[in-house]
C-alpha cells in the first residue's frame, strides 16, 4: 500500500462534476458506498480505471475521481478487457446496468466472465431502461407494463447471477442499494477476488420502476424475503431467524426452526462449491407468489484458483521472450533471401 493510497478518504474520490441522477435514485447510495470502499483498498487513485457503457449507471465515471471512460452502449466489458490485457497493473472497475450489461452488451459480458480478467463488474439492476425513459429491460418481470409494453412484457427475464455462473464466472454476488453495510462488504470481497467479480446490485429507479425491489429492501418485509448467505454458516432467514433452507436431494426447501428442525439440518453455505452455487443462484422466486423462497444475497460463489486471462497471456509472452527476444532485422529478413547485384 503506497503512502498516498493510505491517506485517501471518500472525499478524494469525488469529482467537481455535479451529480445528475434523479433525486432519490438508488445510484447515489451505490456511488457513496464505492467512494467509501475505494480508499480502503490501498490502491493509488491513478491506478484505478472505471469503465462504463451507456445508461444511467454509466454516468458513474464522471463522479469518481480516478481514470475513467464513459464509452458506448454495452461495450465497457470489451474495452476493459483490452485495457486489462494491456495493463494488468491497473485496478479496473466496470459499471454497467441491466440493459447495458445484459442486453446490448450481453455477449461481451459472458465472454469477459469466462476469460476471467481480474476486473470488477458492478451491474446495477433496476429492471428498467431509465435513460431512454422507461422501456422494459432484460431483467423486467414477465407482464411488466412499460412504455414499450402497454399490454405487459412477454419477455422472460434473465436471472443475472445464474447467467454469470452459467458463463463460468469465478465470483458471483448480489447486494442492494439500500443496505450500505452489506454492499460495502460485498464490494471489498469483490475487489479481493483475483479474477472477474460479478456483483449484481439491486437499484431502485424511483422514476420509472419505483419499488421494484421494495419487498427485499424495506425493513418490514426484508427479514421474511431476504436470505443473506455467509460462508460456513447455515442458510437462515425470517423475522427472528426462525426459518432455514434445507436441501432435499437437489431441491432447496424452507423449514421452520421452531417446528422440530434444528440448524444442524440446514444447508451450510460453501462459497467454493460450484454445484451448490448453481442451486443457490437458481433460487429466484417471484416474491408476490404465496409460499415463495426468499431471495439470496451475499457472495454465492468464488473460485480463487482459476488463472486470469492476463496472467496466462503474460506467461506466454514471457515464454516466447525466454526463447529469444524479437529481432526486427531477423523478422524482416524472413527465412529465405537472395541477392541482386
Amino acid at each position: 500500500m503506497s503512502e498516498v493510497a493510505q491517506q485517501l478518504t471518500a472525499k478524494d474520490f469525488q469529482t467537481d462534476q455535479e451529480v445528475r441522477w434523479c433525486p432519490g435514485c438508488g445510484d447515489y447510495s451505490i456511488l457513496k458506498q464505492v467512494h467509501t470502499v475505494l480508499p480502503q483498498l490501498g490502491i493509488a487513485r491513478e491506478d484505478i480505471v472505471v469503465v462504463s457503457g451507456i445508461g444511467c449507471s454509466s454516468r458513474f465515471p464522471y463522479y469518481t475521481n480516478t481514470f475513467g471512460m464513459h464509452s458506448i452502449h454495452g461495450r465497457a466489458t470489451a474495452i476493459a478487457s483490452g485495457l486489462k490485457a494491456a495493463r494488468p497493473d491497473l485496478s479496473v472497475w466496470i459499471v454497467t446496468g441491466d440493459g447495458d450489461g445484459l442486453s446490448i452488451g450481453g455477449n461481451h459480458m459472458i465472454h469477459l466472465l469466462r476469460r476471467n480478467f481480474n476486473v470488477n463488474v458492478l451491474l446495477f439492476n433496476n429492471e428498467i431502461y431509465g435513460l431512454t425513459k422507461g422501456q422494459y429491460s432484460p431483467t423486467s418481470q414477465l407482464g411488466k407494463v412499460t412504455k414499450s409494453t402497454p399490454m405487459g412484457s412477454v419477455d422472460h427475464p434473465f436471472n443475472p447471477a445464474a447467467l454469470a455462473l452459467g458463463a463460468d464466472a469465478t465470483f458471483v454476488a448480489r447486494s442492494m442499494d439500500r443496505d450500505p453495510a452489506h454492499l460495502q462488504e460485498v464490494l471489498i470481497r469483490a475487489n479481493q477476488h483475483k479474477g472477474t467479480s460479478f456483483t449484481e446490485i439491486y437499484q431502485n429507479c424511483n422514476i420509472f420502476n419505483d419499488g421494484a425491489f421494495e419487498v427485499f429492501t424495506e425493513k418490514a418485509s426484508k427479514k421474511e424475503n431476504d436470505l443473506f448467505v455467509k460462508n460456513g454458516q447455515p442458510l437462515v432467514f425470517g423475522e427472528s431467524d426462525n426459518k432455514g433452507i434445507k436441501l432435499d436431494g437437489f431441491t432447496p426447501i424452507v423449514v421452520d426452526l421452531n417446528d422440530g428442525h434444528s440448524k444442524d439440518d440446514l444447508w451450510i453455505h460453501n462459497e467454493n462449491d460450484i454445484y451448490k452455487a448453481q442451486i443457490l443462484v437458481r433460487i429466484f422466486d417471484d416474491p408476490t407468489v404465496e409460499g415463495h423462497m426468499p431471495r439470496p444475497f451475499g457472495v454465492f460463489y468464488e473460485n480463487p484458483n482459476r488463472a486470469t486471462y492476463e496472467d496466462l497471456m503474460t506467461a506466454q509472452l514471457d515464454a516466447a521472450k525466454a526463447k529469444g527476444e524479437g529481432n526486427l532485422d531477423k523478422l524482416l529478413r524472413g527465412n529465405e533471401t537472395w541477392e541482386i547485384k
Binding site: 487513485r45 464522471y62 480516478t66 464509452s71 478487457s81 485495457l83 537472395w338 541482386i340
Partner: protein, 609 residues
C-alpha cells in the same frame, strides 16, 4: 533438350480445392523468387474450405507471372495452365492465351469428373483444346507408381500428386528442386513417411519430364534487373503484420491487436500471434465490436493498438470508431477489403469500402484513410498508419484488399536502422495540484496522451461531446460546432505532415492522367508504361493518402486534359475527386471480384485519348 530463354511467363495452377494448388503455386513462386526473377501472384480460391470435389465452384487456382523484366501484375492471360481436372480446365479456359501450353492430369478427365463439371463431352477429345499445346499426363497413376514401395494408403499417396506436377514444372523451367526439398524437410520432419513420399513424387515428376519427350524445349527466365540489394518474397498481409511490429519497435510501445477472424484479414492475426517475443499481445475477441473496443481499451492504457478486419467487420465497428474519433486516441483500423455488399464474395477482391472508410460513421466523424498499393507497400502503409495515429492522436483506417493481402512479390526489405523512429510522449505527472486538461492541444491540434498510472492525470473521457480544453461534458451549441470543425481541421492539418503526391510515370503535364489508388497500381503502371513507350502523353498518379489528400493533388489534376479514375468498385474515389476538385473525372469501373487488367486499361485510356 534445348533451353529457350523467354522474357516473362504467366503460369496458372488449377485444381480441386483439395489438390494443394495453393501450396504448389507458393512453392513455385518461392523458387522463382530465389532465382531472381521479378514476379507477382494471384491466388484465387473458393470460399468453401472443401467445396464438392470435382465441381466448378471447387476449383482453386494460383496464378504466377514472372520475368526478367519488371513485373507489375499477375498477368492478364495465361501462357501455361496446369489443370488437374475437367472443372479446372473449364473455369480457366477463357483466360488462356491462344497457343498456350495446357498440362492436364488425364485421371481428372474421366466420366465422373466430366459429370461433376457439367461437361457433356470430354474437352480432351472434343476439339476444345485445338490451337493449344496439350500435354497429357496421368499424374494420379504415375504418382502412385512412384510411391509403390512406400507403405501408405492410396488416399495419402494421391495427396502427393501436386508434388509430381511441381517437379514436372521445375524441369520445364530449368529449375532445381532445392527450395522445395528444404521446405518439405522442415514441414514433415516429424513424419518421415510423408516426407519420403513427397520427395519421391517431386523427383518423379522432374525425372518424368526429363526422360519423356513431352515438350520440345525447356524454358528459362533470367534474373530480373531489379535494384541491387537483398530481397525476399512477401505477401500483403504478412507485410502489414511486419509493418505493425516494426512500428511498435520504433515507437517503443507494445503492440496490441484486437481482432475477430474474417476473410481475407485473418492472416494478420495469425502472423502477429507468432510474434509474442516482440511483446505483441493478440486478443481474439468474441466479435468485431469487442475486437475494436479491446483495442480502444489498450490504446487508453498506452499501447500501440490496432484492429484488423474486412468490410463487414468495419460496418460493425462503426460506432466504436466514432468513439475513438471522440476520444482522440491513437488507433489503426485495418480493412482488407473484399467483394460486398453484405457477405458478398469473401474470397474475391474489390475496393468498394472507400466511401465507408471516409463517411461510414454517425455524425461528423473524420478519420485518416490511407491505402496500400502492392503487397510490399502494405509494410510501409502499416508503419505509416501507426506513425500518423501516434503523432496526431487519431484513429487511422488502413485499406488493403484481398488481391494485395494474398498476392506475393519480391521485396527489397528495409533494415531496422533505416526505419524512422516514431517519438511518443505521454503526458507528464502533475504534482502541483493543478487540474489536468485532457483536451488541450498542440500545434498539430492533437491532445496529450495521458495514461492510467500517471499521478495527477486522473480524468474522465467518453463519447459525449467535449468542452474544448477541459474535456468536460458539454451540450453548448457554440462549443459543439467549434469541436466538429476542430476535429475536422485536426485531420485536414495532417496534410502538412505527409509527402506531396508524386507522379509514378509519365509527364507532369499532358493529355491523360490515370489516377488510381490501392491494388490497381500494377495494372495502371503496366498500361501507362506501355503507352508511354508508344509515345502517348499519359501519366499515372497513385493516391496513398485518401484523407486528407496531399496538398498538391488538386494542382496535379489540373495539369492534364483528362483524368481517368479506374477502380474495382462502382465509382468511389471518382466521386470524392469530383466533389472536392470539381473536375469531370472519368470513372472506369470493374466489379467482377477480379483485378483490372492492363489490357482493359489501355483500352479505356485509348478511348478517352
Amino acid at each position: 533438350m534445348n533451353i529457350q530463354t523467354i522474357e516473362d511467363v504467366v503460369i496458372k495452377f488449377a485444381g480441386d480445392s483439395g489438390d494443394g494448388m495453393q501450396l504448389t503455386g507458393g512453392q513455385f513462386t518461392n523458387n522463382t523468387a530465389l532465382m531472381g526473377a521479378d514476379l507477382a501472384t494471384f491466388p484465387d480460391f473458393p470460399a468453401e474450405i472443401r467445396a464438392p470435389i470435382g465441381t466448378l465452384p471447387g476449383v482453386s487456382g494460383f496464378q504466377l507471372h514472372f520475368g526478367s523484366r519488371k513485373i507489375f501484375t499477375p498477368g492478364d492471360h495465361c501462357d501455361v495452365l496446369v489443370a488437374m481436372n475437367v472443372a479446372a480446365l473449364k473455369v480457366n479456359l477463357g483466360n488462356l492465351r491462344k497457343g498456350a501450353i495446357v498440362i492436364v492430369n488425364t485421371d481428372g478427365f474421366d466420366q465422373k469428373n466430366m459429370r461433376l463439371a457439367n461437361a457433356e463431352t470430354n474437352p480432351l477429345e472434343d476439339g476444345t483444346l485445338d490451337g493449344y499445346v496439350v500435354i497429357k499426363i496421368d499424374v494420379t497413376k504415375l504418382t502412385r507408381e512412384a510411391l509403390s514401395e512406400i507403405q501408405m494408403g492410396v488416399k495419402e499417396k494421391d495427396r502427393c500428386k501436386n508434388m509430381f506436377v511441381l517437379g514436372f514444372l521445375y524441369y520445364m523451367y530449368s529449375r532445381t528442386l532445392d527450395s522445395t526439398e528444404r521446405f518439405l524437410n522442415s514441414k514433415f520432419s516429424k513424419k518421415p513417411d510423408v516426407l519420403e513420399a513427397n520427395l519421391r513424387a517431386l523427383r518423379a515428376g522432374y525425372n518424368y519430364a526429363d526422360t519423356t519427350e513431352v515438350f520440345a524445349s525447356r524454358y528459362k527466365v533470367e534474373a530480373a534487373k531489379l535494384e541491387p540489394g537483398t530481397y525476399r518474397s512477401i505477401m500483403g498481409n504478412e507485410a502489414a503484420a511486419m509493418g505493425f511490429v516494426a512500428a511498435s519497435q520504433k515507437c517503443g510501445l507494445p503492440l496490441f491487436l484486437g481482432s475477430y477472424p474474417i476473410t481475407p484479414a485473418s492472416d494478420i492475426l495469425h502472423y502477429l500471434s507468432y510474434n509474442k517475443n516482440f511483446g505483441v499481445r493478440t486478443f481474439q475477441a468474441e466479435d468485431e465490436i469487442a475486437a475494436i473496443c479491446s483495442s480502444i481499451g489498450a490504446s487508453f492504457g498506452g499501447h500501440l493498438a490496432i484492429t484488423t478486419t474486412s468490410g463487414p467487420g468495419v460496418a460493425l465497428k462503426g460506432e466504436a470508431m466514432g468513439l475513438a474519433v471522440m476520444l482522440e486516441i491513437p488507433l489503426v483500423v485495418v480493412n482488407i477489403q473484399r467483394a460486398g455488399p453484405s457477405t458478398g464474395m469473401p474470397t474475391k477482391t474489390e475496393q468498394a469500402d472507400l466511401l465507408q472508410a471516409l463517411y461510414g460513421r454517425n455524425g461528423e466523424s473524420p478519420m485518416v484513410v490511407i491505402s496500400a498499393a502492392r503487397p510490399s507497400d502494405a509494410f510501409d502503409v502499416a508503419f505509416e498508419s501507426c506513425r500518423i495515429a501516434l503523432n496526431h492522436m487519431t484513429p487511422v483506417m488502413m485499406l488493403s484488399d484481398g488481391y494485395i493481402a494474398n498476392g506475393a512479390e519480391p521485396w527489397k526489405f528495409p533494415q531496422s536502422k533505416d526505419l524512422p523512429e516514431i517519438p511518443v510522449k505521454f503526458a507528464e505527472p502533475i504534482t502541483d495540484g493543478s487540474v489536468y486538461k485532457p483536451y488541450d492541444r498542440d500545434e498539430k491540434l492533437s491532445r496529450p496522451w495521458a495514461i492510467p498510472g500517471t499521478k495527477g492525470l486522473e480524468h474522465r473521457i467518453g463519447g459525449l461531446e467535449k468542452a474544448n480544453i477541459t474535456g468536460n461534458i458539454s451540450y453548448d451549441a457554440e462549443n459543439h460546432e467549434f469541436m466538429v470543425k476542430l476535429r475536422d481541421e485536426k485531420v485536414e492539418r495532417i496534410a502538412d505532415y505527409i509527402p506531396l503526391q508524386k507522379i509514378e510515370s509519365g509527364p507532369e503535364k499532358g493529355k491523360v492522367l490515370v489516377l488510381g489508388w490501392g491494388s490497381t497500381y500494377g495494372a495502371i503502371q503496366s498500361a501507362v508504361n506501355q503507352l508511354l513507350a508508344d509515345g502517348y502523353s499519359v501519366a499515372h498518379a497513385h493516391v496513398r493518402y485518401l484523407k486528407p489528400f496531399p496538398k498538391n493533388l488538386g494542382e496535379i489534376l489540373f495539369n492534364y486534359d483528362k483524368v481517368i479514375v479506374p477502380e474495382i468498385n462502382n465509382g468511389q474515389l471518382v466521386k470524392v475527386i469530383r466533389d472536392k476538385y470539381m473536375i469531370p473525372a472519368i470513372p472506369f469501373n470493374k466489379i467482377k471480384g477480379t483485378p483490372i487488367t492492363s489490357a482493359e486499361l489501355i483500352d479505356v485510356i485509348m478511348k478517352n485519348y
